[in-house]
């Protein structure tokens, strides 16, 4: 199960990268709302990727 969570974490990292790329791409196409949308999703997914790996407060 731990390996599955690790795999999900890696996939989330890739998804975040793709979302950031879509966001910056949309910015280039002058679609500001779409850019904001994808950048926000990228930030949230990236946070999810690191939180799934190392929960906050864990030592």
């Amino acid at each position: 199960m731990a390996r599955v969570v690790d795999f999900i974490s890696i996939m989330l990292l890739f998804a975040a990268g793709a979302a950031f790329a879509l966001g910056v791409h949309a910015l280039g196409d002058q679609r500001d709302l779409k850019a904001l949308y994808w950048l926000a999703i990228g930030a949230l997914v990236l946070r999810g990727a690191t939180d799934a790996l190392r929960p906050r407060g864990a030592r």
Partner: protein, 236 residues
């Protein structure tokens, strides 16, 4: 005695040249050239000349007082170059810049930064350093998790793609914003990629459910945003 002194002097000359040559190149292409334009204000020219003086002074001072030398030659030089650009104002508009010269100037600045670094002198032995720790080589405490290099490499490639896409933004008023956004996204991707690549084995003792729960809030928000996006597409 002469044979001993000569390498020291040549090393000193090489380290001064390492800083001076790229710094001079960066200064000529990105500071002196725009400051020499007709119509450049005199404070910009004065700041540019002062920057050159500090550039030359820094490596010389650094031989006896390294911290002061770095402050003068690196921080002082960069600060005065920035001041020059501020005084130049509209003379530095994007439409007036020549891309090749600006790009070469950027390389000069990168080499200037590297020139201030230190490297091991030719012929010296690391163990001769008084700070060297003797004894058997220290063994690594752990091994990299499986696929760490692939995950980190992929995050680096992703960061590169985001930075590359930012150059597609051609509107002058949005280009800087796109570069900032891309830079922040790239830093976040590389930072998180390194964490995901290296720390995987470290937190395995934690229950997988606890790890999923920890990520639930940001992922739920992301899912909500995605769902809203789909609804928006359907409604249009």
């Amino acid at each position: 005695m002469v044979a001993l002194e000569l390498p020291k002097k040549s090393h000193a000359l090489v380290s001064i040249a390492n800083v001076l040559l790229p710094g001079l190149y960066a200064w000529v292409t990105t500071v002196a050239y725009p400051a020499s334009h007709r119509g450049a204000p005199w404070p910009a020219r004065a700041a540019a000349l002062s920057a050159l003086v500090l550039l030359a002074l820094g490596p010389v001072v650094a031989f006896n007082r390294p911290a002061l030398g770095r402050a003068v030659g690196m921080l002082g030089f960069v600060a005065l170059c920035l001041l020059t650009w501020i005084f130049l104002g509209s003379l530095l508009n994007v439409d007036r810049l020549e891309p090749v010269r600006a790009g070469l100037g950027g390389i000069g600045w990168a080499l200037f930064g590297l020139g201030w670094g230190t490297q091991r002198r030719v012929g010296t032995i690391p163990e001769d350093d008084p700070h060297a720790i003797f004894g058997p080589p220290l063994a690594a405490r752990d091994r990299l998790p499986f696929g760490a290099l692939i995950v980190f490499g992929a995050s680096l490639v992703g960061a590169g793609v985001v930075l590359f896409l930012a150059w597609r933004v051609t509107r002058a008023e949005d280009a800087l914003l796109a570069q900032c956004v891309a830079l922040i996204a790239a830093i976040a991707l590389v930072g998180s990629g390194a964490r995901v690549a290296l720390d995987r084995g470290k937190w395995k003792p934690l229950a997988p459910r606890a790890r999923i729960n920890a990520a639930a809030r940001p992922l739920a928000l992301a899912a909500l945003l995605l769902a809203l996006g789909f609804v928006w597409i359907l409604l249009r």
